[in-house]
């Protein structure tokens, strides 16, 4: 089966083809509220990447769902991020919900709030949610950019739901 995922051996829904940016392309810039535990403010992604040296943008499914709880726990335990790379999430929760999520998960990572899903639209990774009329979110994906938004590494899910290749991503982070 095409796009078989790592933990299950039965077919799950496949995403349609996407024209998302790939390695070597420039990542589309965007400005959204960047939520931290204590406050949020509008921050251009380009500014975040420039200040951090490089950035891993984690496009992730709804807060509190079957994926987000596990993903952020895994990322937290792996201790991603540091002096040369900033890890940042983006999902469709409004800022107050992001704050509660950060607090509950004890995250040191900030999260972009994008209820309109404009970032996913710009990256061509829109996921219309089955059974939730009128709601779309990003497909599971990660985009690693250097300080001027050139893409160093890209992973975009081909099936729903799919878990990020943590080890592969970690290798890429190690090469920065």
């Amino acid at each position: 089966m095409k796009g078989a995922i790592d933990v299950v051996d039965f077919p799950v829904p496949e995403f349609p083809p996407s024209d998302h940016p790939t390695e070597g392309d420039m990542a589309p810039d965007f400005t959204r509220p960047l939520v931290r535990e204590g406050y949020w403010e509008d921050v251009p992604f380009s500014e975040f990447a420039a200040e951090a040296g490089s950035a891993l943008l984690v496009c992730y499914p709804l807060n509190w769902g079957g994926k987000s709880l596990y993903w952020w726990k895994e990322i937290r335990e792996r201790g991603w991020g540091g002096d040369s790379v900033g890890v940042v999430g983006v999902s469709i929760s409004q800022p107050f919900d992001h704050q509660r999520f950060i607090e509950s998960m004890d995250l040191e990572y900030p999260l972009y709030s994008d209820p309109g899903n404009g970032v996913a639209q710009r990256y061509d990774i829109v996921h219309d949610l089955d059974g939730m009329a009128g709601i779309e979110e990003p497909r599971p994906a990660v985009f690693l950019v250097d300080d001027d938004l050139t893409l160093e590494y890209v992973w975009v899910a081909e099936t729903w739901p799919e878990t990020p290749p943590y080890d592969e991503i970690e290798d890429e982070l190690g090469q920065l």
Binding site: I5, F10, P11, V12, P61, K67, S68, G131
Partner: protein, 91 residues
């Protein structure tokens, strides 16, 4: 299914956003062309009292079939049940 039931599907699926086992069942329901109530529940098991009351478990997916009186968990069993009841050999 009687005419009176047409507006309300007899099948109800309790599902979790981002759960591959739930998507597996969704895929089979769609494949059999079945209408169903799609109910999303919380990620945390502690917040799934409604599922516990209905099915005696906090794991999803859970399928409830009002026509046959069946309530069941475990995606593999549900897929098997759907095939047997609504698949080529069923009905």
């Amino acid at each position: 299914m009687s005419a009176a039931d047409c507006d309300t599907p007899a099948l109800t699926l309790y599902r979790l956003h981002g759960c591959p086992y739930c998507e597996r069942v969704v895929r089979q329901l769609d494949r059999h062309g079945l209408e169903y109530n799609s109910l999303f529940v919380a990620g945390e098991h502690s917040r799934r009292n409604v599922v516990a009351r209905e099915a005696g478990t906090r794991s999803v997916p859970v399928l409830v079939d009002g026509d046959t009186g069946v309530t069941m968990a475990e995606s593999g069993l549900i897929v098997e049940y759907l095939e047997k009841t609504y698949g080529e050999g069923g009905d």
